[in-house]
C-alpha cells in the first residue's frame, strides 16, 4: 500500500470522484426511468397519434353539436311557450264549445236538477169552462222560461229535449213538443242547480203561484241524476 501513495492534492481527486459518482448515478437513474416507461413502437405511436387526432375531432364535433343542441332547445322552449298559449286559447274555446253544444243539445247531459210535473186540475162541476183547469201551452212556457232564466243548462218536456228552435203547441187535448204530442201530465225536467231552480219557481207570486191560481196541480221535486240524450238530426 505504501507504493500506491498519491502525490498531490487529495481534494482534487475527491472532486473528480464526486463528479464521476454523480454522473454515473445520474446516468443510472435516467436509464432506470427510461426503462420504466412503456416501450412504444413506431406503429403504436402512429396509432396513438391517429387516435388522439380522432378524439380531438370528436370533441370538436361534440362541441358544435352541443351548441346546435342548445339552439334547438331554445327553439323548442319558444315553441312550447307558444303551444302553451295556444293550448290555453284552445281549452277556453273547448269550454265555450262545450257550453254551446250543451245549449244546442248536441251532447249528452247528466247532472242534478229539478222535475216539475204539471197536471190538470180536478174536475170542478161549478166551473163551466174546462179550459180553466187544464194545462195550456202558456203554462208550460212559463215554467220553461223561468227555468231557463234561472240558469238551467237543459230543459226537456216529457223527455223531449228543448233546443233554441223547439216549438210547443197546444193542440186540443195534447201539447205537441217538436211535433211529438204529449197528454197531461207534463213532466218538465231541467238540469241546473236544484236549489236555485226550485227557489225561483217557488217565488211568491211567481210561476208556481200563478199556475196554482189557474187550478193546475204543480209538483216540484229535486232530482239527483237527470240524463238527457243528445238530440239527433237537430
Amino acid at each position: 500500500m505504501n507504493r500506491i501513495k498519491v502525490k498531490g492534492h487529495h481534494y482534487l481527486l475527491s472532486l473528480v470522484g464526486l463528479f464521476l459518482g454523480f454522473i454515473i448515478a445520474l446516468s443510472y437513474h435516467l436509464t432506470q426511468i427510461e426503462n420504466e416507461k412503456p416501450k412504444m413502437t413506431d406503429k403504436q405511436y402512429e396509432q396513438t397519434l391517429a387516435l388522439r387526432n380522432q378524439l380531438i375531432d370528436q370533441e370538436k364535433a361534440n362541441r358544435m353539436l352541443q351548441m346546435e343542441l342548445k339552439q334547438k332547445q331554445d327553439k323548442v322552449q319558444k315553441n312550447e311557450k307558444e303551444l302553451a298559449k295556444e293550448a290555453r286559447i284552445f281549452s277556453s274555446l273547448v269550454e265555450d264549445t262545450e257550453k254551446y253544444r250543451l245549449f244546442l243539445g248536441k251532447v249528452k247531459v247528466k247532472g242534478k236538477g229539478v222535475k216539475v210535473t204539471l197536471s190538470d186540475g180536478a174536475y170542478d162541476p161549478k166551473e163551466d169552462n174546462v179550459n180553466h183547469y187544464l194545462v195550456h201551452e202558456h203554462h208550460v212556457f212559463k215554467v220553461v222560461n223561468e227555468l231557463y232564466i234561472s240558469g238551467a243548462a237543459a230543459v226537456a218536456v216529457n223527455g223531449t229535449r228543448l233546443t233554441s228552435h223547439s216549438y210547443i203547441v197546444c193542440n186540443g187535448p195534447v201539447i205537441t213538443v217538436d211535433g211529438v204530442p204529449y197528454p197531461a201530465p207534463f213532466v218538465i225536467t231541467a238540469i241546473g242547480d236544484p236549489e236555485v231552480l226550485a227557489s225561483s219557481l217557488n217565488l211568491t207570486g211567481g210561476v208556481k203561484d200563478q199556475l196554482v191560481n189557474d187550478d193546475i196541480i204543480f209538483k216540484l221535486e229535486k232530482a239527483d241524476n237527470i240524463i238527457f240524450d243528445p238530440i239527433l238530426g237537430g
Partner: protein, 120 residues
Amino acid sequence: MWLPFIGLITGIALGLLTGIRIPEEYSNYLSIAVLAAFDTLFGGIRAYLQNIYDEKVFVSGFFFNIILAASLAFLGVHLGVDLYLAAVFAFGVRLFQNIAVIRRILLTKWTARKERIEKS
C-alpha cells in the same frame, strides 16, 4: 487516501437521492460523458501504474474529455452526423486498451513479487 472514495460515494448518493431529472434528449450527452469519465479514469490508473502520473494532466483531462465528448455529441446532433458514435468508439477502444495495459502491468508486478518471495 480515502478522500476520493468518500467523494465517489457522496457523488453516487447525491445523484441517486436528489432525483435530478435531465430531459431525455440530453441523455446521450450524459452517457458519452460517463464514457469519457471512465476512459480518463482508467487512463489515469494506467499512468499511475506506469509511474508517469501527473495530477494536473489527469484532472484537466477528466473534465476536458467530458466536455469535449459532450460538445462533440452536441455538434453531431446539430450537423446530422452521429458523431457521438465516434466518441463512443474512440473512448471504448481506448478503455479496453487501458484496461489491457493495466492488467498486464498488474500481472507483471504480481509475478515479480511472487518470484521475489520465492527467492527470499
